[in-house]
């Protein structure tokens, strides 16, 4: 899986991920069919398994791409805002949380597959997949470091994780729609309120 791929293989892999991405965006991860994907990229059914070990690996590769796009969205948001004062830090955290909400909403089914991945008991996440997740972290950690410079680094990391998780929870249940549909602006308001409240808690 780590050996250098030939040009042709790389093109096939890209086409396969493209097709899977399209199908997931349209019908969710559960709607992926090996036969459909093979037809999509014009190869025989068995040929899939020359490109990818199984459909789980394909899900991981799509997720990797989704995480990449999410990272770009957060970067764009961060770059558009100053980060000098502590108020800047709070504003940035709010903006990043809002960007997260909007990305999730605009890429709902792809975003959901990020968390639907059920890897078997013993098997660990491949390193390239774990890296994608870790790359997101600095977006939260950087403003936080400015906000509470006195806090030791392990605590900062934990606080960043907690803040992200809290926002993630609001987004997750907010986009669920299983029970009640929460308007987008209400979600934005609640996220902003929570982020500001926790920031105030951190500062003093």
């Amino acid at each position: 899986m780590n050996a250098p791929l030939s040009e042709r293989r790389q093109a096939q892999l890209t086409a396969l991920i493209d097709a899977a991405e399209r199908r997931i965006a349209q019908g969710g991860a559960a709607s992926l069919r090996a036969r459909d994907l093979a037809a999509d990229i014009g190869i025989a059914l068995g040929g899939l398994y020359n490109i990818v070990a199984d459909l789980d690996e394909l899900l991981l590769r799509v997720s990797s791409r989704t995480l990449g796009r999410l990272g770009e969205a957060l970067t764009a948001t961060s770059d558009a805002l100053p980060l000098e004062t502590k108020d800047d830090a709070v504003n940035r955290l709010v903006a990043i949380a809002h960007a997260y909400l909007h990305f999730a909403r605009d890429n709902l089914l792809l975003w959901r597959t990020l968390f639907e991945l059920h890897l078997a008991e013993g098997t660990a996440l491949p390193a390239w997949a774990a890296d994608d997740q870790l790359r997101l972290f600095p977006h939260v950690a950087a403003p936080l470091a400015l906000l509470v410079p006195n806090m030791d680094e392990p605590r900062q990391t934990l606080a960043a994780r907690t803040l992200f998780a809290a926002v993630h929870g609001i987004v997750t249940l907010g986009l669920e729609e299983r029970l009640v549909a929460v308007p987008l602006t209400a979600l934005e308001g609640q996220i902003e309120w929570l982020v500001r409240a926790t920031c105030r808690g951190l500062r003093g």
Copy 2:
């Protein structure tokens, strides 16, 4: 599905839910096999579909039971604490959040199936399943009402939802273990910190 069930049918249904609960607790919702369940309760394969419309309904019935047990756990936690002052309210919210964390940890796979339910596009959640979720709400709403009595009721409801969602997010990502395992005490600390910070935000 609403017609009065005969005694025998009711016993079969209970046995079936028992078996499904055991298997989910052991291997997760994805490990449910119609053939295994039929064997577990000593009926033929096809007989399952005289008890339950499909495996999704069985998942819903197990989830209903899990939500019931979660409700009992939260009730026990609430009943053990006074609720007179605003500080009581904060303490109760912290305690409830901690109880939620522990329930999720102690019933990890059953708790996860609560959120893995993927009902098809058009079909809505049965009323009896939706009720189970709504029954949980007062546990958060009651202390909140004491904490911010001036807030109008829709805002209180939204705040309760947001607080619950935030805690839920911390619990979800904290028990994930996909990337890094967070110690239980650290999770408890972060939850308490977040709840207290948001409560301070609400009061002030």
